[in-house]
Each structure stands twice: as structure tokens, then as C-alpha cells.
Symmetry: C2
Subunit: 414 residues, 2 copies
């Protein structure tokens, strides 16, 4: 072989303060867990880690569901796995949309042949739950999908009433809580939510690439009806057994994933070793802090950030009554180039904040206060950096006021 | 909230020598890369890492293809992504099967509506390329899928002749080289292979959970015809544009993934940060060693392992003319319980070897010599441990001969 000798690139990772809606900074203890040696997928020490991850996921999801495990893929892999399990071609799916990630449910549902019905709410608002319930009554879909925290607009949809209505009408409720999982309260059992998709790289603060899901017996019932054991490892009887319409994806076949995550340990994929370590350590840290404390920490840092932004003379975007505690959307002042400010902030301060999508592009900045990054030092750093970057880009702000207002919030909380 | 106070489980990872066909040990430099801090997905420092990963993947795949990037999922996610891109319902797919992972192509192809034609070869053998070519002539499928290295049986399919015939007949050739990527020579461009799926947790020796793929313009052409930009971020014109039958999966939509991995950087999922660091560092190490040296290292350790196994009085499984250099299958001696031996080896020596699937379960052990784990100390450790465990379980072996024979091989190579 004649091989071209090329000097391989060296991996370079500069320091950053990440204040976006994800991926966010990861606790050094999680980074350390990632660097532990590999274990075989059927090594009892590894299957023990898998079992512990299931137990801890149940606690963090605040559910009694048996099934709580991760999908080896990013958040939308978790969403797709649940849609693939629940939708057969022609099934009706109601998708209330109040931002970009509502659209994602449409996108995925269409691929699996759903008959999609949408309900729209202006970006920056959420739905009155009664409006959704009325639409469920009118359409009678098989499933309703909702985004709990819509990072594109920074809004959080109340959903304590919709599930019980769904239960009565035999409709399934699937909730994307990617951006609120471990950052804001959500009660699957109390609120009658049938399936949830949590996030990794947001308030749980582990790297992107693994996605916790949970679902109840109503969802499992559908999965079992569609179950198909893999040809290469099925018993003779299993090969013959007739089944319902199989799930259209093998990678996302929750029937096969259940077998792998159960005591049967029937081989499917090779579970992502290091990412399961990160998940384990991340969940440990959440349980050590306690969910109540963690939610309160997110509220406090949000409060300080908002106070600082307003005191600086900037305006917040969106209906304040439904603001997400983990994302704060700031209006870009008239005449200011949103991306230029973000560039100055990144180049000089090494701080990253986010823009937004679609009609909001260039109109708002989105600042995340999530998980490990949701800390006083980070909130003060982003306020200081944003003020200086705005001045640098020609904006008029109330100099020095932002930090004082934020510190006042922290002092009052002590 | 009334929270149950439960002491979270502590993450425990015991030391292991992993001599299975994957997941295998990871170089400490890769483990260290995994523990680097997070970067935002659109941070120029991170998109630079993505670009470098593409460049290094092209080199390691030994291809001029533009498209070479990872799928955020385990190996079968890479396989599914290519099948999803290429198969529309009713398309003919020819699947020659000589082990479990041929069956996996059937499994995935069926899910995407392919009309599947299989060709079978006894487990432990491979196909004469002419037999496959004759079947292509008979069936004229849209795609032919082949496994390069079949870990379930330890065989490697020659495939230097099939691709050029496919090219003439306008058939696409897709090859699963999960178990040989970075461990045995494969020439996509020379051998006219249109798409390949490489492995992470095998000879590249990074953790499971990310999967390198590459494909040429013939595959890209089909992907572009089916392209659909996501509703939530499409321009008005893109929303209107009519397209071919969209790819059935959003997560595996290679058209959208191309946009994300191109300069357009159109948001799809949030790329797996830490796993991309691992990929970068893993590829650096492969290029530093050089592919030729790496393949030679795999051959040498295989030779020593085989010599040791035979000298001990054990027998190898399968046709030796098509043995994979990275997996060695050993017949379980009559009257010996295969799993008991594996248990003794794991408990006393902390060494892991694998069993097999289907009809071979309990009949053979599979010993991997892959990537970072493919080393003299590991080969000698597994021979020593296997001999002792066999004796412990009542087998008669030629005591002490295995290690001497293996060391002879290493001495002769110096």
C-alpha cells in the first residue's frame, strides 16, 4: 500500500463558558467518569451499571414506570424511538406547536406515516390547556405530542390537566421534556403523561449523545403487540410467531431494546459504554443535590439573570407568565447586529450565548441557565460580557447596573 | 414535593482485559480526550474538530469520497442510516448471509420495505465472489449488502471483484466493515464499494456509540433526490419544493446530516461532543501508527494467538482460508461447558472472551485481537488464563505449550 503520510490534526479544546440552551458545561466529575476504562456489554459489572441507570432514571423522572432507560443517540433519537413505536401509517397525531421543536414532532410523525393535525400558537406564547383538550375532543387522535420547554422561544407549556383528559379518551400523551428534565418540575404519573423524552446536554449536564426516555404500560402494550425478535438471534418459535405491524426502525425498536434492558439481555446494539458512565455519574449528582434543590437553583439563577438583563436596559422576549426557568430570551436592541455581539462575546470573553431560529433569527438572543452551568459566577460573567460586547457594538446600555441588580438577587436569597 | 431520599449508586468500574470482538479496551489517550470540557455545537473550535474528523475519516477509510462522517449511534445505526437512504419500498436488495450480521441487513432492509433476496453460505465459510456475481445477474437488485468481517463466525469475505461488476450493472454495493475497519485492509475506491459502515468499539478502539460511514456520489445522488429540509428551519422556498419519497427516518436522514456536516451547518441534532473528541483522538492514533503497520500488528498477534491455541491442543473453528485477522474462533472441547470456562476466566483473571450466537452458541469461543487490545501482553494473558480455566473446568490440555508457541511467534518476528 502506498500511504500518504499526513500529519494528523491535534485535538484542541479551548476553555469556554457556555450559556446557551445546550450543550452546556459538564461537571468535572462527569468528565472524569467518561475517562474510566471500557467494560464488556455483558460483563456483570456493566449490566449492573445499566440496572442502576434504570433505577436512578425512574427517580429523576419522578415515575413508577418500569421502563426508564437511555436511547443511544441524541435527543431527537429518543423522540423518534417513541413515535416509531406508537405510530402506524394512518394513525392520527395531534401536534400543538408553539416553537421549532413542535415542528420536529410533525417532521418525525410524517416520516412514520401519521395523519398529522397541528394547532398553532404564536411563538412567544403557549396554549391554554383547554384549547388543546377541545382539539383532542374534535380530532380524537391516537397520540398527542407536546414540548414541555420550547428552547426556541423560551416558553414552558403547562400540562398538568391534558393527560387526565387523554386517559379518559384513550389517547396517548407524549412529552418532550428535553430542555426541562432535571431543571423544572414535571410529574408523569400525577399528570398522566404516557411517555417522556429527557435531555442529556441540558439540565442533566452530561454530553450530547444519549437520551433518557420513560413510558408506562399503555405504551408498552402497543410495543409488545408490534414485537419482532431479530432474525439472527430469534428462537425457532419466535421466528414463526406472527406479530402486528413491526416497528419501522430496527435501531429504534423499543420491543428489542426492552429485551436488551431486561434480565433476558438479548443482544441488540452494543450499549454505549462511556456515555452510560456519564449518565450514571450525572444522575448521581442530580440525586445528591435533590430535585427540589435543583429546581430552586435554576429559579434563583434565572431570577438574577433576568434582573441583570432588565437593569441593563434590555427587554425580555415572550409572555412572562409561561417563561422557561432554564432559558431567557433577550430582544436584540434596534440597529444592533445579533451575531456580531455573539462574536465579540465569544472572542474576547470565551462566553457562548445562542441566537434563535426561523422568524426569531437575529431578533433575540437565548441565554441558558442549565445544570452545571447554572451558577452565580456564570450568570455574572455573561452579564458582564454581554454589557461590554453591546457597548463595543454601539449599543446604549445602563452601564454597571446589570451586575448590581443580579448581585442584589443573590444577596436577598442568602 | 415529597422526595424519597435514596442514596444514589456509586459508579464502579473494575479492571478488565477485554479479548472479545468488541467493545475492546480504549487507549488511555482516547479516555483522556473523552474527559475534555464541552464545546458548543456551532463553536468554530468544535466545527473545526468536525471538519478534521471528516478529513481523517477519508484517510482511514482509504477513499476520495467527499462524504465521510460519523452517525451518532452504535454500528447498526450506521447500517440503518444507509439502508434508510437507499431503500424505497419495493426496491430489491440482495443479502448474501454467512453469519449473524448478514441477518441484520435482512432485518433492517425488511423494516424499510425492501424486497429481500438472500443467498446463504454455511456458517464458518464465505462466498465465492463469482456466486454472488451470478446472483446479482439473476436478481438485478438495487443494492447488494455484504459483511466484510463476520464476527459471529470469524470469517472475512473477499470483495475485490464484486464491486466492479455492480458498477457495470448499476447496482449499489454497501459493505459493513464494522469489525475490520482499522484492523484489515479494505479499498472502497479500488474495489468499487459505494458505501461503508465502520466500527468504533473494535479495531478503531474508541467507545461504542458513534459510527463512521462513507459513501460516494452514486449514493449522494439518491440522497439528494429524497432530500427534505426540516419544517422548523426550512426557507419558504425549501418548504414548497417538491421532492422524491423522503427518507423514512428523520434521525437517519443523510440529506439533513450532509447539510449539518457541510459549511451550511444547518441544525439537525446536537452532535455528540465527547464522542467526537474520542473519534478525533482515535483517528489520530491510527494515522500516527500508519494503516500498514496497524494491519501488520493485527496479523502478528493473530498468528501468535492461533499458534498458542493450537499448541495447547485446542482446535480452531471455520475455514482457515477466509479467517478474519481480528477474531479467532476456538472450538469448545467435547464435554466442557463454554460459559463456565468464560466465568472462571472473568472471575479469576478478569479476562473477558466471547461466546457466539444461534447454532454456534456453546460450541465456540470467540477471541478478539482488536485495536488497542491487540497486544503481546494481552495475547499471552488470554492464553495463560484460558489454559488454567480449562484445566479448572476439567479439560485436558498440553500444559505450558500454548505460551511457548506464542512467544516463539513474537521472537521470530523481532
Amino acid at each position: 500500500m502506498t500511504e500518504t503520510i499526513t500529519k494528523p490534526a491535534k485535538l484542541t479544546v479551548p476553555p469556554r463558558t457556555i450559556m446557551t440552551p445546550g450543550p452546556v458545561e459538564v461537571d468535572p466529575r462527569v468528565l472524569r467518569a467518561l475517562s474510566l476504562p471500557i467494560l464488556g456489554q455483558f460483563d456483570p459489572s456493566f449490566t449492573n451499571i445499566m440496572n442502576e441507570n434504570m433505577t436512578m432514571l425512574r427517580q429523576v423522572f419522578q415515575t413508577q414506570n418500569h421502563w426508564a432507560y437511555p436511547i443511544d443517540g441524541t435527543s431527537r433519537a429518543g423522540i423518534e424511538a417513541l413515535i416509531a413505536a406508537l405510530i402506524e401509517p394512518g394513525d392520527k397525531m395531534l401536534v400543538p406547536i408553539y416553537g421549532r421543536f413542535g415542528d420536529l414532532f410533525v417532521e418525525i410523525g410524517e416520516r412514520y406515516g401519521a395523519e398529522i393535525h397541528t394547532l398553532d400558537s404564536e411563538w412567544g406564547t403557549v396554549f391554554d390547556q383547554e384549547a388543546i383538550i377541545a382539539e383532542i375532543k374534535r380530532i380524537h387522535p391516537k397520540i398527542v405530542t407536546l414540548v414541555h420547554g420550547e428552547t426556541s422561544t423560551g416558553r414552558m407549556q403547562p400540562l398538568d390537566k391534558i393527560g387526565s383528559y387523554c386517559r379518559e379518551e384513550d389517547v396517548l400523551l407524549v412529552v418532550d421534556c428535553v430542555a426541562t428534565f432535571c431543571g423544572a418540575d414535571i410529574r408523569p404519573d400525577e399528570w398522566c403523561i404516557d411517555a417522556l423524552i429527557g435531555g442529556a446536554q441540558k439540565c442533566l449536564s452530561i454530553p450530547s449523545g444519549i437520551t433518557p426516555i420513560t413510558y408506562n404500560e399503555r405504551v408498552e402494550h402497543i410495543i409488545l403487540k408490534r414485537k419482532k425478535v431479530e432474525r439472527g438471534i430469534a428462537t425457532a418459535e419466535e421466528r414463526k410467531r406472527s406479530t402486528g405491524l413491526p416497528i419501522r426502525s430496527n435501531y429504534f425498536d423499543l420491543g428489542q431494546l426492552q429485551d436488551y434492558w431486561s434480565e433476558r439481555r438479548l443482544n441488540h446494539h452494543t450499549e454505549a459504554t462511556s456515555m452510560n458512565y456519564a449518565l450514571h455519574q450525572g444522575l448521581e449528582l442530580v440525586l445528591e443535590e435533590g430535585l427540589d434543590n435543583r429546581f430552586a437553583r435554576h429559579k434563583l439563577n434565572e431570577k438574577a439573570l433576568m434582573a441583570g438583563i432588565l437593569a441593563m436596559g434590555l427587554e425580555l422576549f415572550g409572555d412572562p407568565s409561561c417563561k422557561m426557568p432554564t432559558v431567557t430570551c433577550v430582544r436584540v436592541p434596534e440597529g444592533i447586529n445579533a451575531d456580531q455581539v455573539r462574536r465579540v462575546l465569544l472572542e474576547h470573553f470565551r462566553i457562548e450565548i445562542a441566537g434563535s431560529f426561523g422568524a426569531l433569527q437575529g431578533k433575540i438572543w437565548r441565554i441558558g441557565t442549565m445544570g452545571y452551568g447554572c451558577r452565580q459566577d456564570n450568570v455574572l460573567a455573561v452579564l458582564a460580557g454581554l454589557e461590554a460586547s453591546l457597548i463595543r457594538c454601539g449599543a446604549v446600555v445602563r452601564r454597571g447596573e446589570g451586575l448590581q441588580a443580579a448581585i442584589d438577587v443573590y444577596d436577598a436569597a442568602d
